[in-house]
Amino acid sequence: MQSLTNMSFKTIIKKQVKWKAKLYSSALSSLIILQVIFGALLFSSGSGSSGHGRGNLNVQFSIYSLDTFLFITVFWAFITAILFTTKAYRMDDLSIISSRTSSAIANILVLILYSFFAVLIMLASYYIQILGLMLMEKDTFIIDKLLISPSIFILCICSICLFSAIGLLFGYCFQGPSIIKIASIVLLAIGIISPIIFPESVNLQPFIQLPDLMLSGFYIIVSILCFTLCIWIADKSEVSRK
């Protein structure tokens, strides 16, 4: 501890979370802008479609599911988490930071908090789009399932958390000791190259088959692993700012 004030680790993190949550709130507004843009672009086509043709009749179904909004949100979470580790964001750290570890823990907690808000924003975008659709396309509007199930809600939060955890780990990898940097670059290269060279080796089907809650549990485990690694890397990093 290098701080002159006598504060417990818990208090430091609490203050950091409060500070960072307020400081980075513009990230949530950028998510809203992204959702609005994509919601408007995909207003008439939805997130998927299926077509059936028979005789002189073609039937086209535009399916409005959560997919598009979820993909945008997880992508946003990944980028935001990486940005949290950049120099510009580190400069904004509250003066009471005494170690990189507390900063990393605060970042993790802020990302978890933001993941929850991101799901709310995602659902708000979805239902606003559906309301607009109902008002404009009343004659061709079919409701299969209007309310999101609690298991899907949990799965969405966990998915966003997972991608933010991966993003954060990705960002921290380049701050840690050189061995971690090299290892992360090698792992990244393998991760990118292997699906291209051996496409049959990447089989996500068994994961997709899992029930929603089990899938959420799996995401939580991977997220915890990533977050723990982030804390470990932060702990190994130099304390002083470059």
Partner: protein
């Protein structure tokens, strides 16, 4: 224009549009930098979530679709009702042609003891099921053409009302039956779930009952003529019924 040119042009237009948007956003953000204080930002985010919540409440209270998604039991019931159609048809038995499936009737007068019929399917995909039936109650020189539409279901939606009727007319003492040109129907389906998971999960494929039924013989055109009047079918597509 070749595909490559179109691709290149669309890429160029996208880049130009993105650059334009980037400059506009940069200009606007410089001006609104001071406007988006933390308080205003929080209000904006909360308001967006509140609008989404309002949309959800409105949809759950007032959203009603004129198009009904048939349940499995309803589908089973319909299937049971229309199951014997093909069997009766193969046995040349007209008893499946009941009035509740009759959609339209045309009456024509013609000269002579033979009625020439020309069928124009329009395109290769469409096939009209045309049947001939003798009716003692029809006076000589008169023909009645009836169109029967049986339930046609795609993905749990009855689309039988959307199937365009054929064009039936009499010209130069000859009966013409023409299928209408290709017709497209679009539906917007709301599924508040993750489509990619639903699509890949096995339970949809393992389902013992399909949600999509489309009978090839979902519509019939029946030409009724008095006893002793023959049909001249040069194309050999008309089947006789008793």
């Amino acid at each position: 224009m070749t595909n490559a040119t179109v691709l290149l042009l669309s890429l160029l237009i996208t880049i130009l549009l993105l650059t334009l948007v980037f400059f506009i956003v940069r200009k606007v953000s410089n001006k609104t930098k001071n406007f988006w204080t933390l308080k205003r930002l929080s209000i904006g985010i909360t308001a967006y979530i509140a609008v989404g919540l309002f949309a959800l409440l409105y949809l759950s209270l007032f959203a009603n679709s004129s198009i009904q998604v048939l349940s499995k039991s309803e589908l089973k019931k319909i299937e049971k009702n229309i199951e014997p159609i093909q069997k009766y048809d193969q046995e040349y038995n007209s008893s499946f042609l009941t009035d509740n499936y009759k959609k339209k009737t045309w009456e024509f007068d013609f000269l002579g003891g033979t009625l020439p019929v020309t069928i124009n399917n329009g395109n290769e995909d469409s096939s009209l099921n045309i049947r001939h039936l003798y009716n003692d109650n029809i006076p000589a020189g008169k023909a009645i053409v009836s169109y029967y539409q049986f339930p046609a279901i795609i993905d749990g939606i009855d689309i039988s009302d959307k199937i365009p009727l054929p064009n039936v007319y009499m010209s130069q003492n000859q009966l013409w039956i023409e299928a209408l040109s290709r017709h497209e129907v679009n539906y917007h389906r709301i599924k508040a779930s993750i489509g990619i998971l639903d699509f890949n999960r096995e339970e949809d494929f393992d389902d013992d009952y399909p949600s999509s039924i489309f009978y090839l013989s979902s519509n019939f055109i029946v030409i009724e003529t008095p006893n002793g009047t023959d049909i001249e079918d040069s194309q050999g597509v008309i089947q006789y019924l008793r």
